[in-house]
């Protein structure tokens, strides 16, 4: 038995990064993710790593650019407004094909918004975020243990695709404490040789890390190369959890913290004899469209619940491709739907269907 630790999601994500051989962290304080940089500032020097507090999120993401370009496994973490500030740098990292892990512990927006949990950065995370033709690989944990596993895997995936990977949590995932296990059995770490890294042109022609292609034909070729990796992600990396979907007449679609709450609602509804199941996307990009395409043949109704005013619901509808009936329920601004609210919504959905 692996030793269990009792930690907040933020601390667990930080330790997971260290155990995935991340030795460089650059960040800027913002609530509700401060435990990540605080943990890193203690922990990284113990393992010969570097923690550096940047002067801004803009500087932080560009320090990642420099560190990743030099060949390091590197991470930053922030929360919604800070992630907005990083978008330019993230776009540059995709353009320059640099791997890194970015943790977004979402809070309510727009603007300064609030500091309570939210899922309102779904569009930004999954549809590109910055300028240009690209996607990030986006992983959405719903428990602290899963946050650990996905953070470790995020580094391998970033290296594999030479693309930034985002771990998308919310204030609950970051702040709540749960028992977690660390250990190598939860990861298959791969450290590909980074022959492209900028370590000094010794015994080889110089390397160049860049995203500028003034000739449109060259830029198109470059973008197609990036898109090829995105197509490979779509083919190879979709992760999804399904729960009681075989006989389900209504499917609840939710990710992250909301999926936990939905699980409780489903338990209650099943006890009442209702055939309810759940689809929980774990990768938000690539999105499990196929899973929704399959369930649309059987379950006629999909209730999408989010801590936003409806973002993932658009991908669910794409997956269903006009089949079935979709209902959305969301809370915003840091308000969290209770399992009672989800039960009520599900029951209304059933009644309205009968009418």
């Amino acid at each position: 038995m692996m030793k269990k630790s009792f930690m907040t999601g933020n601390e667990a994500i930080a330790e997971a990064a260290v155990q995935a051989d991340c030795r460089h962290f650059f960040g800027y304080p913002i609530t509700p993710q401060n435990e990540i940089p605080e943990y890193m500032s203690r922990r990284l020097p113990e393992v010969g790593g570097v923690y550096l507090q940047a002067e801004s999120e803009i500087a932080a993401i560009n320090m990642l650019f420099g560190a990743a370009g030099a060949g390091a496994r590197v991470m930053t973490s922030s929360s919604s407004p800070g992630i907005s500030l990083m978008q330019e740098g993230i776009s540059y990292m995709v353009g320059a094909q640099l791997p890194c892990v970015i943790v977004n512990i979402m809070r309510g927006g727009p603007g300064l918004g609030g500091i309570q949990p939210s899922q309102s950065d779904y569009f930004q995370a999954t549809k590109g975020g910055g300028h240009g033709d690209y996607h990030l690989l986006v992983l959405a944990p719903h428990t602290v243990q899963e946050a650990v596993t996905l953070t470790m895997e995020a580094f391998d995936l970033a290296d594999k695709y030479r693309n930034p990977v985002m771990v998308l949590g919310d204030g609950y995932i970051g702040q709540m404490m749960e028992p977690v296990e660390f250990g190598r059995k939860t990861r298959q770490s791969t450290h590909p040789l980074k022959s492209w890294a900028l370590t000094g042109a010794k015994g080889r022609p110089p390397n160049l890390v860049k995203s500028l292609y003034l000739n449109p034909k060259e830029l198109e070729e470059h973008n197609l190369e990036i898109n090829k990796k995105i197509q490979d992600m779509i083919k190879n990396e979709v992760r999804v959890e399904t729960l009681l979907i075989d006989d389900a007449e209504i499917i609840i679609a939710a990710y992250g913290t909301v999926a936990r709450i939905a699980k409780t609602a489903i338990k209650v509804l099943r006890e009442r004899g209702l055939k309810i199941g759940m689809v929980r996307p774990i990768t938000l990009f690539p999105f499990p469209y196929e899973t929704f395409a399959k369930i649309s043949k059987r379950a006629q109704k999909v209730l999408v619940v989010e801590m936003s005013l409806g973002q993932m619901v658009e991908d669910v509808m794409l997956g269903l491709s006009g089949q079935g009936c979709v209902r959305f329920y969301g809370r915003t601004g840091g308000m969290v739907p209770s399992y009672d609210e989800i039960i009520n919504e599900t029951e209304k959905f059933i009644t309205e269907g009968k009418a």
């Binding site: 940047a54 500087a59 560009n62 650019f65 330019e88 000094g200 042109a201």
Partner: protein
């Protein structure tokens, strides 16, 4: 006495400078500084461990001219990129090559904080008082009265404030170990400029902190002058406001 047909080679292209045409306009100061950089890198024999950062602006294509590992950085972010690189590989010699818009306007936070951290990197800052790459707009270092495409009646302090003296500003920061302003307006100044660049790299090699050389440079195209007029303009107009000086240098050991 030399033998017939055999000549001693007394001048050649530095190893670090690639044999290629540059995109710089005729008479531009950038090419001179690129060569000085290449000479300094050769003289310290650090080509194989030097990593450069070229951000947006006329600076950006420097990687086509120097035969070393290089990053292209977002506008203003070169000191942050260089910081990331140096913190991963402290044995690398890392420099940024930035224009006035990049170093003093959009990236001034990164510039000041890299200096404040005493980041062991070197910045070569090309001050030509104008945005060259985008076609001659007002820079944070554009002089009062200077006409640009976005200050068509000449810069006024009422509308656009005052030009920033970056060397003087950075010299107040404890983490900055070497700060100098030089020019490439005539051969004597070019020789002085090379000495300053050499000292800046030496400061980094010795691990003494942040180093920066501000190079007053000429932009005949966007100043609408001949190359010769533009070098005279550097001396007659820029130098009175931006005096050449070694503002800060590490104390000589011995």
């Amino acid at each position: 006495m030399r033998m017939q047909g055999k000549f001693e080679k007394i001048f050649e292209r530095p190893r670090t400078l690639r044999s290629t045409a540059t995109h710089y306009c005729p008479g531009c100061g950038h090419g001179i500084v690129a060569r000085l950089l290449a000479e300094v890198i050769d003289e310290f024999k650090i080509r194989e461990k030097t990593v450069g950062v070229a951000p947006v602006g006329c600076s950006v294509l420097l990687y086509n001219y120097l035969d070393i590992d290089m990053y292209e950085a977002a506008h203003g972010r070169a000191p942050a990129v260089a910081t990331g690189c140096k913190r991963v590989n402290p044995e690398s010699i890392v420099f940024t090559y930035q224009g006035d818009g990049d170093f003093v306007s959009i990236g001034i936070a990164e510039s000041i904080h890299a200096a404040a951290r005493g980041e062991k990197i070197t910045t070569i800052f090309i001050n030509n008082a104008i945005y060259g790459m985008t076609g001659g707009q007002m820079a944070p270092t554009t002089l009062i009265g200077q006409k640009t495409t976005t200050s068509p009646r000449g810069r006024t302090s009422e509308e656009a404030g005052f030009p920033i003296r970056m060397s003087e500003l950075l010299a107040t920061i404890d983490g900055a170990a070497y700060i100098a302003r030089v020019s490439v307006s005539n051969p004597k100044n070019v020789i002085q400029a090379k000495k300053a660049i050499k000292k800046a790299f030496e400061t980094q090699i010795n691990g003494l902190g942040y180093s920066m050389v501000e190079v007053l440079s000429h932009c005949p195209t966007d100043w609408h002058m001949t190359p010769l007029e533009s070098t005279k303009w550097v001396e007659g107009h820029m130098m009175p406001y931006y005096p050449l000086n070694e503002f800060k240098a590490p104390k000589r050991r011995n």
